[in-house]
Symmetry: C2
Subunit: 220 residues, 2 copies
Amino acid sequence: MTAKAASVELADVPAADTAISKAPRTERGKRTLRKLLDAAAAEFGERGYHEASISGITQRAGAALGTFYTYFDSKEQVFRALVDDMGRLTRQHIAERVTGTSDRLTAERLGLEAFIDFVRGHKDLYRIVMEAQFVAEDAYRNYYRVFAEAYRRNLVHASAKGEISPGHEEERAWALIGMSVFLGLRYAVWSDDRPAAEIAAAAAELITFGLSPQRGKGMS
Amino acid sequence: MTAKAASVELADVPAADTAISKAPRTERGKRTLRKLLDAAAAEFGERGYHEASISGITQRAGAALGTFYTYFDSKEQVFRALVDDMGRLTRQHIAERVTGTSDRLTAERLGLEAFIDFVRGHKDLYRIVMEAQFVAEDAYRNYYRVFAEAYRRNLVHASAKGEISPGHEEERAWALIGMSVFLGLRYAVWSDDRPAAEIAAAAAELITFGLSPQRGKGMS
DNA sequence: TCTGAAGTTGAATATTGACTCAGGTTTCGG
DNA sequence: CCGAAACCTGAGTCAATATTCAACTTCAGA
C-alpha cells in the first residue's frame, strides 16, 4: 500500500545502485523489478529485515524465488536501495511543502508538519530507515548526515538574515532532527489520530521561542 | 567493558523478570548468571541482536552452551531483560545528577549532560535499547513511555511553579526526548570527543529560549 | 518462422544457529 | 562424609532460508 505510493519514484532510480549487469533491458524486466521493489518495501516494512524472507518478497511480487537474484545481488542490497530511496523521497516531499516560505520559523513548522504527514503515508518505508541503523549503519548515518548538513546550512543562512538568533547550528540541527524523528515516531508511526498540524504547531512553539531573536511570540 | 560497569546493578534485578524456576539458588549460580548477563550485553551490543549468538554469549561468559538455558528461556528473553535494566539504570543515573537542582531549566541542562555521559559509558547497552524497537517493540515503547510520562509530569510541575511557560507538555516531552536521543546518538555513540557539557549547553540554550517565561537569557 | 538474448522458474544446496537432553560435576545441609 | 539438589556440559536435533543453477519460456528482430 504505502509501497505502492512510492513505486513510481522507486523505479526511476535503482539502476544507479544496481549492478549494471542486473539492470532490466526490456519493459517486462522493468515491470518485474518494480514489483519486486514494492514487494520488498512491504515485506521489510511489515516483518522487519530479519523476519523478512526473499521468498516472502517474491511471493508478494508474484514471481519465482530465483527471479529476485536476476535483479539484486543480495537481501542487503535491496534493503540499502530502499533506504537511499527513502532519503530522496523524504527530502523531496518536505522541500515541496516548504519552498516559497519566506522565513525559517514558518519553514520549521511546515517542514515538521510535512514530515509527519509523510511518515504517516510511508510507515513501512520509514520503519526501514530506522532499522537501517542495525542492518546498514553506513546508509543510516548517511541518511541523517545529509539531513543534518542541509539543516545546518538553512540555520546558518537564517541566522545571517537575522531570522533566528545565532547559536551552535550543528548541534541545533541534530537536536531539531531528533525532535522531528521522535514526534514522528510517537504521533505518526505509533498513533496517527491527532492532526499533524496540531503536533507541528505545538512543537513549533517550542522551537520558535528557542530560535526567535524577538522576545515576543514569533510564530510568523 | 561497558557491560562490566553495569554488572552490579544488572545482577540485582533480573530475578524479577526471570522465570522463578530459573533463578539461581546458590552463590555459584548467581555468579554464572551475572557473567551471562554481562556477556549478553557485550555480545548484543557489539554484534546486534541477530548477529549475536547464544554460543557467542556463553563463550564470552566462559560457560557451556547449555548453561544459558539454565537461566533464560530464550534469546529474546535476555534481550528484554537488558532493555528493562537499561531503563532503570538510565533513569537512576540522570536522577542522581539532577536531584537538588531547584529549577527546571538548569535541570534540563544537567539532565542532558548526564544522559550524554551515561550513553558514552554504556554504548553497548544503549545500542540494545535502540535495537529493541525491532526486536521487542513493546519493551521499547514502554521504555520511552515511562520516560515521557515522567518528563511530562516534570514539565507540568515546572509550569505550575512558573519556571517555564505553559504549553503542550506531552508533545514537549516527546520533542525533548527526541533531542536528547539524537544528540546522544550523534555526540556519544558516533563520536565522543566533544565535551558533554558543551553539547548540553548548546542544546540547553535552544531549549531554554523555548521554555523560559522571561524574555531575557534564562540559563539560570 | 527462426534465433538467441533476456527473463523466469523452483528444486536443490549449504549454512547457520536456536534449543534440547542425557549424563557428569559441584555444592551444601545434615 | 552422604545424598540430593543445583549446576554445568556440549554434541546432536531441527527448522529456516539465503543463494545457486540448469532447464524452460518469452519475445523482438531478421
